[in-house]
């Protein structure tokens, strides 16, 4: 049996929706005397008992309508958010592509940003030196690498971000709807790279609204609605089911 790389068991995640948010000590102080200005907290469950397993070398898609908890799920797997209940086990290093180019600072050049961004993942200087050329080459930004990224276009920004994440060579890649920005040629390049990544036995979790891509690329898929896994199975079939609107809604 292949090794399970990601194991999510009965995962629940709640957030507080804070009405009348008391953001300052001053407001907090006033609310002591004026009940109407007291903060009200409402619990919102973004994930309700999610189970998910991903084996090594698998590419798994996560689909579902907006607000169904897809991004929250990725963030918990990435270790950015803590589970409220349940457990998440990840065996390996994770490169979260939740939003591309997050560590970029507009005033720094492309080169400086590569170093800053890669060090955010704990790489040492030598390790970054080693991947630097490949990152630049993959991004295709050789001519702009010493320009501050505030002068980059959205597409260039995305290229650099994707190039860094892919060259970090982590065990697990979490991709959240990022391919939408690049032009077609770069998109193809990214998909080819992800394919190659997979062939080398790496694991990919792919959140997307591009359903054709999911059914084409992924082995399996999960359909998430209102924080619950509604359907799990062969990617093509899950996508087809979602397409036809045959969503077996579970009622609590």
């Amino acid at each position: 049996m292949t090794k399970l790389i990601v194991e999510v068991q009965d995962l629940w995640k709640s957030f507080y929706i804070r009405h009348n948010r008391n953001d300052s000590l001053k407001e907090r102080f006033i609310s002591l005397f004026d009940g109407r200005r007291r903060e009200r907290r409402e619990v919102f469950w973004a994930l309700k008992g999610v189970n998910l397993e991903v084996a090594q070398g698998e590419m798994v898609g996560i689909i579902g309508p907006n607000g169904s908890g897809k991004s929250t799920l990725l963030r918990v797997i990435a270790g950015i958010l803590r589970p409220t209940k349940g457990s998440v086990t990840v065996r390996g290093s994770v490169a979260p592509l939740i939003e591309i180019g997050v560590g970029f600072h507009p005033e720094l050049t492309g080169q400086e940003n590569i170093y800053l961004n890669a060090s955010l993942y704990g790489l040492t200087r030598k390790e970054i030196d080693r991947i630097y050329d490949e990152v630049v080459e993959f991004s295709g930004l050789e001519d702009f690498i010493d320009v501050p990224v505030k002068n980059y276009s959205t597409g260039m920004y995305m290229r650099l971000g994707f190039a860094i994440a892919i060259q970090l060579d982590m065990d697990i890649l979490l991709v959240d709807e990022v391919l939408a920005v690049g032009d077609e040629a770069f998109q193809r390049k990214c998909l080819a790279k992800m394919q190659e990544f997979k062939e080398r036995g790496k694991t990919i979790l792919f959140v997307s609204h591009a359903l054709e891509l999911v059914s084409e690329l992924c082995d399996r898929a999960y359909l998430l609605v209102n924080g619950q896994v509604i359907l799990e199975g062969v990617a093509r079939e899950v996508v087809a089911c979602y397409h036809r609107g045959q969503i077996p809604i579970r009622h609590e």
Partner: protein
Amino acid sequence: MGSWMRGLTRIIRYRELVRNLVAKDLKVKYRGSVLGLLWSLLNPLAMIVVYSLAFQYILRIPLENYPLFLITGIIPWNFFSGAVIASSEAIIGNANLLKKVKFPLEILPFATILFNFVQLLFALLVFFPAVFWFKTGVTPLILLYLPVLALQFLFTLGVAFFLSSITPRYRDVRHLTEVALMVLFWLTPIIYSISMVPGKLQPLIKANPLTAFITVYQDIIYWGRLPSTEMLISMVLWTGLSLGVGYSLFRRRQRVFVEEL
């Protein structure tokens, strides 16, 4: 104790991130200005000139080589106040990073303090020759300077942990900090010496942690005498307290940072 060691190893493992964050702050602050880092000297220089004028020539404070006295206190004070103000932004200013990537969050306040420390070292480089210019002589006590500076770094780090972990919840802490710093400045013997403080006020001034650090610096550099045991102990205790309270609060609060930002 285990969590302290883990915190320390995380900082060591992510040293490249620390380095890049400090470099980023330096570049962002000083790139595109001809004078670069020299700008960071403008503030202490202006303070020294203006205070010399007001207190030496107008109020006639009875301290010899008054500018040297000022330099001794103002440079470490500026490090403290600059670092403290910046640290309140250490977490909320990097919200976009910690919402997207998992990394040890201790790095953020640490890098902020280090950035301010680099500016302090630069200021020392320029102002230190003043000690020779005033011909007050340098005693072997000067060797104590670096350990005391290191202690002040740790003390400030503790304050930074504390402040950076409450600002995500209460955004107005920053304004309170500015007011508190202003009060603290006048309650610290920087422009006056501790011996000039009337007996009744002494306990108030001595209850201020910065008093310990500043008077020790003055003893070492300006007076050329051995610092009092009272101040040395006070300095160590404050550092322990600040780091202990600051870091444990930070570790407890960091779970919820992402959700508060």
